[in-house]
């Protein structure tokens, strides 16, 4: 088993499948009265969050607690980071406290890779800059597999702000590894062709959402990341949502069985309309529940065995 989960590229098909299978068993345990398992008793998991997050942090916390690990939550606000402490010094502090795993979210791409060089424990990337968010890709793959029964051969559209999306990068890598065919859809200003080609030579690109919808098994909408946009990538929000927003009319162009995904948080009315987000074909709430199972699987597989 791997030691760190810094990138979806750390996972080969066998390891990724093992994580998804393990997540399935963890999900089965979530249905019972006593949800807690003794597996990681005595292990310490630090949630090191330099960026705001609701679902990812809570999801990791719930996952670690269900496995009986001790959880320390660290958020940059209200810590020594606001006094100017560097990531390295924070890492050494965590190291001295005996963290067995550090779950890190950081605005700088590559921060988890640096952190892994400084601490002895496992490092789990919970989102770094515009780089990667591998556990999101795992829970997305798990959701697709449980809804559609397989991943190999699926046609998946990732729609929207691919340029700034770590979710898109991790999904592109993982889905390609697991045999799905990915099409990136969005305005040309938000599709980095060189990055797409480097991550997955087989990825397709389209600038026309309506033409790809009839062939898709999965349509994954990305959040328009207004906080990361220094320039204007499209003329207006209205034009964006006209061309790339998913509304009921567009959803009807998708095949009967196809599902709609969104990593959250949503800009309702921008990239997705409320009617689509709340429809039975949307897996958005399921994705949150599956997130806990997927992260339990990752923590178990990284920390459960011999160090």
């Amino acid at each position: 088993m791997i030691k760190h989960l810094r990138s979806a590229a750390d996972l080969d098909a066998a390891t990724a499948t093992l994580i998804l299978d393990t997540a399935g068993e963890m999900a089965a345990l979530a249905g019972r009265e006593v949800k807690k398992l003794p597996t990681l008793r005595g292990r310490t998991v630090v949630n090191l969050f330099y960026e705001d997050s609701t679902r990812t942090r809570i999801s990791f916390e719930a996952a670690a607690k269900r496995l009986s690990a001790d959880v320390i939550n660290f958020s940059a606000k209200g810590s020594s980071v606001s006094k100017g402490e560097s990531l390295k010094d924070t890492a050494l502090t965590l190291q001295a406290m005996g963290a067995d795993a550090v779950v890190i979210r950081h605005p700088a791409s590559g921060a988890p890779h640096r952190l892994a060089q400084w601490v002895d424990g496992s490092v789990v990337n919970a989102g770094d800059g515009t780089h990667e968010h591998p556990t999101q890709a795992l829970l997305d793959a798990y959701t697709m597999r449980s809804r559609l029964g397989k991943l190999d051969g699926l046609n998946v559209a990732i729609v929207g702000d691919v340029l700034h999306s770590r979710v898109a990068r991790s999904n592109l890598l993982l889905l390609t590894t697991l045999g799905a065919s990915v099409t990136l859809v969005g305005p040309p200003t938000l599709i980095p062709l060189d990055v797409a080609a480097a991550l997955s030579p087989s990825a397709k690109v389209s600038y026309d959402l309506d033409s790809v919808l009839p062939d898709m098994d999965v349509v994954m909408m990305l959040r328009v990341q207004t906080e990361r946009m220094q320039d204007s990538y499209f003329p207006s929000a209205r034009e964006y949502s006209r061309r790339y927003g998913l509304d009921l009319a567009r959803m009807r162009k998708m095949p009967e069985h196809a599902i709609v995904m969104h990593p959250g948080p949503m800009n309702r009315g921008m990239e997705i309309t409320p009617e689509v987000a709340d429809s039975s074909r949307s897996t958005i709430v399921e994705q949150v529940a599956n997130g806990v199972s997927a992260r339990m699987a990752v923590l178990y597989l990284l920390l459960g065995g011999k160090a």
Binding site: M1, L18, E25, L29, E33, P38, T39, L301, L302, K306
Partner: protein, 186 residues
């Protein structure tokens, strides 16, 4: 699990027909001791406890026409030796539809050795519900207990040395039925 190598001494303890007779006997004992297997659930411990539990249920059905619910109980997440080995893949836990609350649960495993698997199974069971009682059925008891645990139904007692190992093969998992003792009598 590796097949015994040709050069390690190995002898057959139970042949296929022996194994079938042993399963038949244990099924009869369960019927006798539980007055007709009423309010009883068989839970196999993966890997080989699961097919054994299904075989016991099938024999009980053949003898008395009673359908005993069968399930599986994976104990990996409850093991006390997780940190001594590389991470293990999880097995399936599937409880019968009626659950286990208020029922007599009979745990089924292939080999009883240190007793630690059964200890983990009792913990796992505790988190799944509250059975009225728990019993243990094993195909082979090879001794060397490290915990105060004993089986209610034993297919065969095999005295072993610690250096030896008992290998149970079942058609469902290994393609043939037999129990072999391998290891080092020098």
């Amino acid at each position: 699990m590796a097949q015994p190598r040709a050069d390690t001494p190995s002898k057959i303890i139970l042949s296929a027909s022996d194994l079938h007779r042993v399963v038949d006997r244990v099924a009869h004992q369960i019927l006798e001791k539980t007055s007709g297997a009423t309010g009883t659930v068989l839970l196999g411990i993966p890997t080989r406890g699961v097919p054994l539990a299904h075989r016991l249920a099938a024999r009980i059905h053949a003898f008395e026409g009673i359908d005993v619910p069968v399930g599986s109980l994976d104990i990996t997440l409850y093991r006390d030796d997780l940190r001594l080995h590389a991470t293990r893949a999880l097995g399936k836990t599937e409880l019968p539809g009626g659950g286990i609350d208020g029922l007599r649960v009979i745990l089924v495993d292939d080999v009883l050795f240190s007793g630690r698997t059964v200890r983990a199974a009792l913990d796992a069971l505790n988190d799944e519900g509250r059975p009225s009682s728990v019993q243990l059925a094993v195909l082979v008891d090879r001794g060397h207990r490290q915990l105060p645990i004993r089986a209610d139904y034993v297919g065969k007692n095999i005295p072993t040395a610690l250096s030896e190992s008992v290998r149970v093969s079942l058609t469902e998992t290994d393609g043939l039925d037999e129990v072999r003792l391998t290891g080092s009598e020098k």
